[in-house]
């Protein structure tokens, strides 16, 4: 994959001349450092422990068009509506192939003070503010795709919540891929800075309008200052042929709280990296994930929680439903550092295989260097319970309905942990649609 790497390096040279030259010098050096990192790392291979079960060759070998064109490719608001959970009134930022579209976005519902907008604009208008945070939380060590994203950092969402600010409505970031003229690479870069005691809900939706080949290589950095609360929801709804590699890097200060839901719905290869660093005492996170994988799809969740400081709590529940010849990977790691006494960390990964050909590789692990901690982890891979199927059938449900009801039941606790009712509802609908369920999806416990 050396030739492909070279091609990215060449692309960077052109990018550097055409775009980067006009940008503040700190951005340029951030990019430079990142491309050097990428040049050293190269694309990950199966020898790389982190990528053992996910082959990136199909992504690397596809020549993507490196779009510098911030046009909307003819994307209209009506096309985005179906991804809006029936709530077009939520404040939203829409990006097409990684570029902010003012025309498709609507921030009118936000109160005047809250800063939500495009990263590109923020870099140009308030470079000092962005410089304080951009690139500070996403570690590029052993992170080739993150390095690539950083090398080409240009646009994305910037949410800057001041001290004590609270936004009640979810802020919806919609990343649309549209490649009518050849496979596009988009690399959105998002930055969420939550000031002391602030709170907000953010949804990131990665979607496409057609069944096209493209590659989204996204990075989101989140910093939660003291007592800040963020409900972060990421939905990967790429096309059946689309590739997604995305990373969310979170840094939690004292007493901060992150609730996170990662839903991997579709894409030929979807990799979701989530890195949470507890950088101060008394922080908490609840990480919740669901992946539904069918034939022709591969989903890989790689979750790292770094308990670097004492008295932090993490609860992690990831569930997967794998159907047909779909493949899934769960790699969950919790590190409890020497100083991190009174850590409370729990991790569960459960997988439901709906077919003989479905496969899942799950690897939950704990690395504990402190002695006064409460840590548990567990993983399960199984099929639907035949006794339960018989029980349901004995009440009049057909075999198919019985299986559907049980599959729903399997996913329901994860779906219910999502705090946004319209998103819950939409996921129930999608689940019914994906698994061709015949039972209605309205009422779940």
């Amino acid at each position: 994959m050396v030739a492909e790497k070279e091609s990215y390096l060449t692309t960077f040279e052109g990018f550097e001349k055409r775009v980067s030259a006009k940008d503040p010098s700190w951005v340029r050096s951030l990019r430079k450092g990142a491309i050097e990192r990428f040049a050293n790392l190269g694309f990950p291979t199966a020898k790389d422990e982190e990528w053992k079960y996910t082959r990136v060759e199909p992504i690397v070998r596809t020549p993507f068009k490196f779009s510098l064109d911030p046009s909307t490719n003819g994307v209209a608001l009506s096309q985005i509506e179906s991804f809006s959970f029936g709530s077009l009134k939520w404040p939203r930022l829409v990006f097409v192939n990684g570029f902010y579209s003012a025309k498709l976005s609507d921030l009118s519902g936000l109160s005047g003070k809250v800063k939500v907008g495009s990263l590109r604009e923020a870099i140009l208008k308030e470079p000092a503010r962005v410089e304080q945070h951009l690139g500070r939380y996403a570690s590029l060590e052993k992170n080739a795709f993150g390095a690539l994203n950083t090398a080409f950092v240009l646009d994305g969402a910037f949410i800057d919540l001041g001290v004590g600010e609270s936004v009640s409505e979810p802020i919806h970031l919609i990343f649309v891929s549209s490649s009518p003229e050849g496979a596009v690479l988009s690399q959105p870069r998002n930055l969420i800075v939550a000031g002391k005691g602030s709170s907000a809900t953010v949804i990131e939706s990665y979607v496409s309008l057609a069944d096209e080949v493209y590659f989204t290589n996204a990075v989101t950095e989140i910093v939660l200052d003291e007592g800040a609360k963020l409900d972060h929801n990421k939905l990967i709804r790429e096309s059946e042929k689309g590739f997604h590699i995305g990373a969310t890097h979170v840094c939690g200060k004292k007493g901060s709280f992150l609730s996170s839901s990662s839903i991997a719905w579709s894409g030929r290869i979807a990799r979701n990296n989530l890195r949470v660093l507890f950088d101060a005492e008394g922080s908490e996170c609840a990480l919740n994930g669901l992946y539904v994988v069918s034939t022709g799809q591969h989903v890989d969740n790689s979750i790292l929680i770094d308990h670097a400081k004492p008295s932090c709590t993490s609860n992690e529940l990831y569930k997967g439903i794998v159907n047909g010849r779909g493949t899934a990977v769960f790699n969950g790691k919790i590190i409890v550092r020497e100083d991190a006494q009174k850590t409370d960390a729990h991790q569960v990964n459960k997988n439901l295989l709906l077919s003989e050909e479905a496969t899942v590789d799950t690897k939950p692990h704990l690395e504990i260097f402190a002695d006064d901690v409460k840590c548990t982890h567990g993983a399960a891979v199984g099929q639907l319970d035949e006794e339960a199927i018989f029980y349901l059938k004995s009440r009049g449900l057909r075999e198919k309905s019985a299986r559907d009801v049980l599959t729903y039941g399997f996913a329901s606790d994860v779906i219910q942990r999502i705090k946004i009712a319209p998103v819950q509802k939409e996921l129930n609908r999608l689940l019914a649609e994906r698994l061709q369920m015949e039972v209605a999806s309205e009422v779940l416990s």
């Binding site: 018989f390 029980y391 349901l392 059938k393 009440r395 009049g396 009801v405 209605a440 009422v443």
Partner: protein, 271 residues
């Protein structure tokens, strides 16, 4: 006389390699309550589960007719749709699925089969509230996941609730009375009494006589090592209570003719 609701003829059932039922004959007519008693391991639950169509229970010989139709040919869900209900001895947990959702899905599928209109959410809730009174439970019972975290008594009540909602023609209760305190037992009994109608029949599988203080059976059959060894009226249950199953054992196999003819009702209910 009306056609029998259930006719079991020479039923043999094997689980794994072991033959559990070794030739069962039973006739249950509409309006009747039959108690099937017997010591542990005699095959009571096997009979109940075989009637519901559990895939692990293999019928090696015999026939079962339900309203004249071949019951053994029907899938478990078809049996339910035709009006057969088994209250499980050990009901299964269904995590993540609420009682209400489950019951609505079941009832509507049965109604669809019978060509009846499906219940909408509002009408169904109304119906469910009525049925909750039968088991003396409040409304959060229906919003909890099916059987998950339920106490033994709650699980049994839930079986009765399902029975009350689905209103089967033939209800088979597999040791629904086991492990219940007296209050729960009364509720289960009142649920069965509530269901009782001239066009419905009830088969109570039980180890103990005590539930028969609340539900008076028309017939009592004693199962022993996979065969009925004695049948009689309700007084047979009292005899068993008084003398224990060893009394039958002591009287020896010669006195244990299947479908014994000592009581008039027994000859009607078995052949």
């Amino acid at each position: 006389m009306a056609k029998p609701m259930l006719e079991i003829k020479n039923l043999h059932v094997t689980v794994g390699e072991t033959e559990i039922l070794k030739g069962i004959d039973l006739v249950v007519n509409p309006g009747e309550v039959h108690a099937i008693m017997g010591p542990n391991g005699s095959g009571k639950s096997t009979l109940a589960r075989a009637l519901a169509g559990h895939p692990s229970y293999v019928i090696t010989e015999g026939k079962v007719l339900y309203e004249g139709k071949d019951l053994l040919e029907m899938d478990p869900d078809k049996r339910a749709k035709e009006g057969v209900f088994l209250a499980f001895q050990y009901p299964t947990d269904i995590p993540g699925v609420s009682n209400a959702y489950f019951l609505k899905a079941a009832l509507n599928e049965i109604r669809e089969y019978r060509g009846l209109e499906e219940f909408d959410a509002v009408d169904f809730l109304k119906l469910l509230r009525e049925k909750l009174k039968v088991i003396d439970m409040d409304e959060d019972f229906i919003n909890r996941p099916v059987n998950e975290g339920f106490s033994g008594g709650e699980k049994k009540r839930n079986e009765i609730l399902q029975m009350a909602v689905l209103e089967p023609k033939l209800a088979v209760l597999d040791e629904t009375d086991s492990g219940l305190d007296i209050d729960a037992l009364k509720i289960v009994a009142s649920g069965v009494t509530w269901l009782k109608r001239p066009d419905r029949a009830i088969v109570l599988v039980t180890h103990y006589q005590r539930i028969l203080n609340y539900i008076i059976p028309d017939f009592v059959h004693v199962l022993w090592d996979g065969r009925f060894v004695k049948s009689g009226g309700k007084e047979l249950a009292f005899q068993l209570e008084e003398k224990g199953y060893d009394w039958l054992k002591a009287s020896g196999p010669t006195g244990l003719r299947p479908g014994g003819a000592e009581a008039e009702p027994a000859s009607r209910s078995s052949r």
